[in-house]
Amino acid sequence: MTLDFTDEALLLRLQAGFPLHPRPFRMLGDALGISEQEAMRRVQRLKSEGYIRAIRASFDVQRMGAASTLVAACVEPARIEAVAHELNQHPEVTHNYERRHHYNLWFTIIADSRERIAELVEQARRLPGVIEAVELPVLQRFKIAAVFDAKR
């Protein structure tokens, strides 16, 4: 599937915000000069083709009373998949990437409390193959936003 100009405009708009309106597709259609039905069809297609992963609410972690952190772990390369798999069992582990660095496994935790985060980090340190793990909590946020346009 190739994206035309309308798809690209739709993707940008949908990322900026899905209209909180009883007929959101009509609103989107009006903005793009297409019908409500066509807006629906295009959104449906962008979803089924995997361009859109979800349309949903994103909450402010702090305002929700949740605690979050980033953990960098140094893991024996042979154990990295097993360790990642173990960590991913926890719903509080939201992102988990292997990166090219001494600390080769990087994961984020969002949990109910600081105590729970400390517990999860301690558990991670005890997993076989984990040499060390350090916590990198946020001190200040300058930007949390990701709006992507389609590039080819």
């Binding site: 449906q44 349309i55 990642a84 300058f142």
Partner: protein, 151 residues
């Protein structure tokens, strides 16, 4: 998919469409909800490379450099983080670009613009998990998963 996705969603909670929309609008207005919108697959859109770039910024310049990086549209996240043993960096950004070379060039540019020479690129080699966080809402039972989905 339906013309009235919020009516369908509201019905699953046994509330009215307008009540649900009003709640969502209030959450957005108060800032509890940052956004209600699409999450896209950046790989699908051609952003093949995701790099975390970590910087050692002199503490007295952190706010200035943080705001500078945040203003760049190719920088998607920009946080000051606490340094740790082996990771003396204090400013963390994410860059999404089409290739590793593009990520490197971008980081070099930012380094020049900000006048910060000490940085490292951490290229992701594998994605083991990328999930939406779930929260228990403070007052209602509606969680993020609940507020999800139109199809």
């Amino acid at each position: 998919m339906t013309e009235r996705p919020f009516a369908a969603l509201a019905a699953t909670y046994g509330v009215g469409e307008e009540e649900l929309l009003e709640t969502l609008r209030q959450w957005l207005h108060s800032g509890v909800m940052r956004r209600y919108g699409a999450l896209v697959s950046h790989r699908k859109l051609g952003y093949e490379c995701n790099a975390m770039v970590v910087w050692q910024v002199p503490p007295e310049r952190i706010a200035e450099v943080g705001r500078l990086f945040a203003a760049d549209p190719e920088v998607t996240h920009c946080y000051q983080r606490r340094p740790a043993p082996g990771l003396p960096h204090n400013l963390y950004i994410m860059i999404h670009a089409h290739s590793e070379d593009d990520c490197r060039r971008k980081a070099e540019n930012l380094s020049r613009v900000a006048g910060v020479a000490a940085y490292e690129l951490l290229i992701s080699t594998r994605e083991f998990k990328k999930d939406s966080p779930r929260y228990a809402a403070p007052r209602t039972r509606e969680d993020e998963q609940g507020a999800d989905e139109h199809a």
